[in-house]
């Protein structure tokens, strides 16, 4: 049983980010991390190794050369090897373009489970995993609070509006997990040392059988404009008042806005 975990390198949460003049995200000078939600996917995969239901874990990322740092960090947590798909033609890839590339790389790696985070921090589309599944015509088990694999099938526990379900589908498939799978482990010093010797390959587009022409400039969407959000009225504050008086003021505020 083999798992490939797809991880994306993203700018650190809360870092100061901006759009460059060409309307692409300017990533220069911003600390880069593993997409926090992908760390949960890594943790889930490693737990399946720990309990003996999975033999090997490979990490896959599409991104610039620097994304190899994210792969190295993942390898320090555990797992066996890593693949970076990088190509000048991929700059500015949207979710469709990203999915196209990951799907082609996954065809080559042929895992039983391609495991992903539930969303990337910088896009919040949560579209890549389902698009990858569709491109490979495989089932998708998404938003798992827990994932297990046995007897040629995988199951995820997924919260519903008012409870939870166990969803099931036959392998091979694509799955995503949430932050409920358990806190990601830290890389130990030993892990960091070991990671340096783990194999990492770099693939270009032609290595996965794609050409820049297949990719329409890696995106089917384009940003045409950016602007600041509408100014919000400044925050009103209620401070240093006894509770009953504060309550009256809040109630007045709500009444003015027809909320009570």
């Amino acid at each position: 049983m083999k798992i490939v975990v797809c991880i994306k390198q993203v700018p650190a949460t809360g870092a100061d980010k901006r759009y460059a003049d060409d309307l692409r995200l300017d990533r220069a000078g911003v600390e880069a991390i593993i997409n926090p939600l992908d760390e949960y996917a890594i943790e889930q995969a490693l737990r399946l190794v720990d309990d003996g239901s999975v033999e090997s874990v490979t990490y896959l990322s599409m991104g610039p050369e620097q994304a190899s740092e994210a792969l190295r960090r993942a390898l320090a947590m555990g797992g066996d090897d890593a693949v970076l798909v990088t190509d000048p033609a991929l700059a500015g890839a949207d979710e469709w373009g990203t999915a196209k590339v990951l799907a082609a790389a996954l065809d080559k790696l042929a895992p039983d489970v391609a495991l992903m985070g539930m969303a990337s921090d910088d896009a919040r589309g949560s579209l890549v995993p389902g698009a990858v599944a569709a491109m490979r015509n495989l089932p998708l088990l998404s938003y798992g609070a827990e994932l297990n694999v046995a007897d040629g099938a995988a199951r995820v526990r997924r919260l519903s509006a008012t409870g939870y379900d166990w969803l099931s589908a036959p392998l091979p498939l694509v799955a995503t997990v949430t932050d409920q799978v358990g806190e990601p482990r830290y890389a130990s010093l030993k892990g960091i040392m070991a990671a340096k010797r783990k194999p990492m390959q770099t693939w270009s587009l032609s290595d996965i059988g794609l050409s820049a022409d297949d990719l329409h400039g890696a995106a089917l969407t384009r940003v045409t404009d950016t602007r600041a959000p509408e100014e919000k009225p400044p925050t009103e504050r209620i401070e240093n008042l006894p509770a009953a008086e504060a309550a009256t003021k809040i109630a007045d505020w709500l009444t003015t806005r027809k909320l009570i």
């Binding site: 759009y19 949560s126 569709a134 409870g163 939870y164 950016t226 009225p233 209620i238």
Partner: protein, 326 residues
């Protein structure tokens, strides 16, 4: 290629989700700009009987994809077939189910995807969407590249459109074309469980009283429940409160919880971390109660009350009950 605007209309427990009504109205708005009709792709328990009534909210036609409670993703094959027949755009709710179906469409038919968007319109025959990015600090406008296939797939945030109420129209209902044989149909519900405590669907709530680590215990949510019931609203929580086991995870708001857009959100004992904020920042009115005058939530709340939630919330509940005469 038709100028129609398709939308996903999810039904649960016999009735349409609020998103179905919102998207019916949104699709009708866009269809009037594109020169086509609003077409519902209705699925889930109650869809067969309820689809026609979407006409009251703006749908001209409704295609019933199925009426049972298989997982939303298993309906994706039918959505793909319907989308092959045409349409300029397809609106999907920015919920886990909506995203799953939207993603499958994007991957199967190589379609441009947008979202989650806070506004959409047609400009010179092309869809144009608005999205808040970089933690809400930038609004971007996007459109498909030249030559991109249709329909454009648009994930729509809750409450982007306000459902038209009281319309008398009835959508013309038809059955779905045969679903294609895609792998998604192999996803099944192996087991289904209700939560121990009774939980409401927060995505549908118009008033939410949310508690965080400051609520300090399971019992600490008592006063928040009282306030919610006085206001006619629901109780929600931060991840810290859900992680502590004080409240079920189904009520967590944020990046990995529910994305809510009520008319009123009251946060008590919540600091306003970015991951919480992305789940509630589009609420129409945000009130925060926090004893720390420098809590980050004070920077984006409309009304920031500095004080102890255990004193202020009961006093507020009394005051509201007094005013409502209940």
């Amino acid at each position: 290629m038709s100028n129609d605007i398709l939308f996903l209309a999810e039904f649960t427990g016999g009735s349409p989700a609020r998103s179905a009504l919102e998207l019916a109205t949104g699709a009708a708005e866009l269809a009037s700009q594109s020169g086509g009709s609003a077409v519902a792709l209705a699925y889930g328990p109650g869809a067969a009987d309820g689809a026609a009534a979407l006409g009251a909210h703006g749908a001209t036609r409704a295609i019933v994809l199925g009426d049972d409670d298989r997982p939303a993703i298993a309906y994706a094959a039918a959505v793909v077939s319907a989308a092959r027949d045409g349409g300029l755009a397809l609106l999907a709710p920015a919920t886990p189910n909506g995203r799953d179906v939207a993603a499958v469409l994007v991957g199967t038919l190589d379609l441009p995807a947008f979202g989650p968007v806070r506004a959409a319109r047609f400009s010179e025959g092309t869809i144009e969407t608005e999205q808040a990015t970089l933690q809400g600090s930038v609004i971007t406008t996007s459109c498909p590249v030249d030559g991109a296939a249709t329909p454009s797939v648009v994930l729509v945030l809750a409450n982007t459109f306000t459902p038209n109420e009281g319309g008398s129209g009835s959508a013309e209902v038809s059955q779905a074309p045969a679903a294609e044989d895609l792998a998604f149909t192999q996803v099944t519900v192996a087991e289904s469980h209700e939560a121990d405590a009774k939980v409401v669907n927060l995505e549908e709530a118009t008033i939410i009283v949310a508690g965080g680590r400051g609520v300090a215990s399971e019992d600490g949510f008592g006063p928040l429940r009282e306030l919610a019931s006085a206001l006619g609203g629901a109780v929600g929580a931060s991840r810290a409160a859900a992680d502590a086991g004080w409240i079920p995870y189904q009520l967590q708001i944020g990046q990995t919880g529910k994305v809510v857009k009520p008319s009123l959100y009251i946060g008590a004992g919540i600091s306003g971390a970015i991951q919480h904020r992305v789940g509630m920042q589009t609420a129409e009115h945000v009130v925060a109660i926090n004893k720390d005058p420098d809590a980050p939530i004070g920077e984006f709340a409309d009304l920031f009350v500095v004080g102890d939630l255990f004193q202020i919330i009961p006093a507020l509940t009394d005051e509201i009950r007094r005013r409502k005469g209940t």
